[in-house]
Assembly symmetry: C2
Homo-oligomer: 292 residues x 2
C-alpha cells in the first residue's frame, strides 16, 4: 500500500522536483504523481524529465490529490493555498515547504475546509540553484525536516507527513512557528544576510580593489559568496516574512560585532582571544553533532 | 643547481611544514633543509616526520642559511627577525609568511644588516588546522602568493623568493604593504571576524535555542563556522596588526548591513532584491575567475 494514492507537487523547482524524483524512485510514496506550475516552460521541462504522471497548469485539477505539496516561493504560498483549498478533498492534506513561517500558519488555517489538514514541513536542505533541473532524489538524505503544524492538527495527518519526509530520507521534528523562525533566523537567514552584505561591501570598493578581492577570494571571502549566490526573490521573501525576528537577531549580532571591534580598538588581547576561541568551541560541537 | 644552498624554516607549523614537505619533494629548492622552533615538542615531531636535514632550537644556527623563512605567528615575526638578523650571512634573504603587514616592513627594514635582503611573501592558502602535522606539500598549488618587499629591495632577491613560491606551486604578485592589508581585510580578515562573531551570537543564545541551532546548522551557519575554527592567537595577532584598516572595512560593512536592515524594515522590495542580486553577480565573477 502506498502512503498516498496521489501526490501533487505545485512548483516543481529545486525542492519540488527533488520530492518528485524521490517519489518516482520510491513508489511506496504515491501511486500517481502530479506536477503543477504557473510557468509553461517549467511544465515542459518536467514533462521532458518525466518527473510526474500528470503535468498540468490547472491548480484545481492538482488540488484533487490526497496530498498537495506547495513548493512555490514563500511569497506565493498563501495565495496558491487559498486558490487550491476550495477544490481539496475530504481527508486530504495540504503541506508546504516554505523556509519561514511568519503568519502563514494562522492565515492558511482559517481558510481550511473541514476534513482538510494543513501540515507544513520545512526541509533543512537546499542548494544555491533553482528550477526543475536543479533537484535530485537524495537532496533530503540525512537532513532535518521541521514540521510546523498549527495547534489541534489531526495527528494522523502529522504522521503521514512525517512518513513522507522519512521516505525522502530526512529526519523529522515538530516545532512551533515562532520558535522555528527563531532557529532559522540564526541558522540560515542571518548567515545569508551577512553573505549578501559582504558581497555588497566588496561590490562598493574601487574598481582596482574589487578586482583584486575577487582574484584573491580564496581566503575566506569565497566561503561567504557560495551562499550569497542564492535566488534573490526567494531570499527577499524570506527576509520580509521573518522581518521582526531576523532584525532582532541581526541587532544582537551587530552588538556582538561592536564588542569585537571595541576589543580590537582597545587592544584587549584577552577579550579578542576569548571571542575567537568560542568559534572554535562551536565548531567542535558541530563536528560532535555530525553537522559539520 | 638548487635555488638555495640551505633553506631554514623557523616555526614549522601548518605553513612552515608545508614548505618543508614541498622542498623535500622538489630538491631543486635547496640542498639542505633546516627547521627551527622554540617548542621542543614541535622539533621532536619534525624529526619524527623527517621534514628537515637539520632540526634545531638554536635560532643563531638556523640564521646561517641562505634563505630564512619565518613561519612563526604574526605577533612573533618581528622579535624572531630581530633575533636572527645579526647572524645572517651576506647575500642571504630573510622572508616571512605573515598574513598581515602592519608595521612589519619598516620595522624589520631598519634592522637589516647590509647585504641581507628582506622579501616577505604571504601565501594566500591555509586551513583551519595548525602544527607540523597539519601541513601538506600541495597546500600552495595554484594559490596566490603576495610578495610585499620594502621599496629599494634588491630585485634578484625578489626574483629568488618568487621562484621559491613558484616551485611551491603558487602564482606570485608584488603588492605594497598598505594595499596588501586592505585587500586582505576584506578577503580574509573581515570574513573571519564575522564568522567568529556569529559563533559568539549563537553561543549567547538560551541553552535550548543554542542546542537547536547547532543541530540544524547545515543551512548556512555551518559554512561560517568552518572558518571560525581557526587558531585564536593567530587571528588575535592579525586583527591587532591590521587594526585600522580592518575596523574601517568593518565600518563600511556595518553601514551596508544597516542599509539592508532598513530596506527589510521598510519592506523596500526593490532595494532588498538589488542587494541580494549583487551577491549572485559577485559569485559569478568568482566562478569566471576560477576562484570559486
Ligand atoms: N532552495 C532552498 O534552499 C530551500 C530549502 C528549503 C525550503 N525551500 C522552500 O522551497 C520553496 C521553493 O524553493 P525552490 O528553491 O525549490 O524554488 P524554485 O526552484 O524557484 O521553484 C519554485 C517553483 O515554483 C514556481 N512558481 C512560482 N510562483 C508560482 C505560483 N504562483 N504558482 C505556481 N507555481 C509557481 C516557479 O516557477 P517560475 O520558474 O516561473 O518562478 C518554480 O517552478 C520555497 O518556499 C522555499 O522557501 C527552499
Ligand atoms: N594558517 C593560515 O591559514 C595562514 C595562511 C597564510 C599565512 N599564514 C601565516 O603563517 C604563519 C604561521 O601560521 P601557521 O598557521 O603555520 O601557524 P602554526 O601551525 O601554529 O605554526 C607556527 C609555529 O611557530 C612556532 N612558534 C611560535 N612562536 C615562536 C617563536 N617565538 N620562535 C620560534 N617558533 C615559534 C609555533 O610553536 P608553538 O606550537 O609552540 O606555538 C609553531 O610551531 C603566521 O604568520 C600566519 O600569519 C597562515
Amino acid at each position: 500500500m502506498t502512503l498516498f494514492k496521489s501526490l501533487a507537487v505545485v512548483g516543481p523547482g529545486l525542492i519540488g522536483s527533488s520530492i518528485l524524483r524521490r517519489a518516482r524512485e520510491d513508489r511506496g510514496i504515491a501511486q500517481t504523481l502530479i506536477a503543477a506550475d504557473s510557468n509553461a516552460a517549467v511544465l515542459d521541462r518536467v514533462r521532458e524529465l518525466g518527473l510526474a504522471d500528470i503535468v498540468t497548469a490547472d491548480l484545481a485539477e492538482a488540488a484533487k490529490a490526497d496530498c498537495v505539496v506547495l513548493c512555490v516561493p514563500v511569497g506565493a504560498v498563501e495565495a496558491v493555498a487559498l486558490e487550491m483549498l476550495p477544490y481539496m478533498k475530504q481527508g486530504a492534506i495540504l503541506t508546504d515547504v516554505a523556509s519561514v513561517r511568519g503568519q502563514l500558519g494562522p492565515r492558511i488555517s482559517t481558510a481550511l475546509p473541514t476534513g482538510v489538514s494543513y501540515v507544513p514541513a520545512h526541509p533543512m536542505a537546499g542548494t544555491e540553484h533553482s528550477g526543475p533541473d536543479a533537484g535530485f532524489a537524495t537532496l533530503f538524505e540525512d537532513r532535518w525536516c521541521l514540521l510546523i503544524p498549527p495547534a489541534n492538527t489531526d495527528t494522523s495527518a502529522i504522521h503521514k507527513i512525517e512518513q513522507l519526509w522519512k521516505q525522502c530520507g530526512a529526519r523529522t521534528r515538530v516545532l512551533e512557528d515562532a520558535y522555528h523562525d527563531q532557529v532559522c533566523a540564526i541558522v540560515s537567514h542571518l548567515p545569508h544576510l551577512l553573505a549578501f552584505t559582504i558581497c555588497d561591501t566588496a561590490d562598493n570598493l574601487s574598481d582596482e580593489l574589487r578586482a583584486d578581492v575577487l582574484e584573491y577570494a580564496a581566503s575566506g571571502f569565497r566561503d561567504f559568496t557560495r551562499i550569497a549566490a542564492s535566488d534573490p526573490v526567494m531570499w527577499r521573501d524570506i527576509f520580509l516574512a521573518n522581518r521582526e525576528i531576523l532584525l532582532e537577531t541581526l541587532d544582537r549580532f551587530t552588538a556582538d560585532t561592536k564588542g569585537m571591534a571595541d576589543a580590537i580598538r582597545a587592544g584587549d588581547v584577552e577579550s579578542i582571544t576569548d571571542r575567537i576561541a568560542r568559534g572554535r568551541q562551536i565548531r567542535r560541537t558541530l563536528i560532535a553533532n555530525r553537522q559539520a
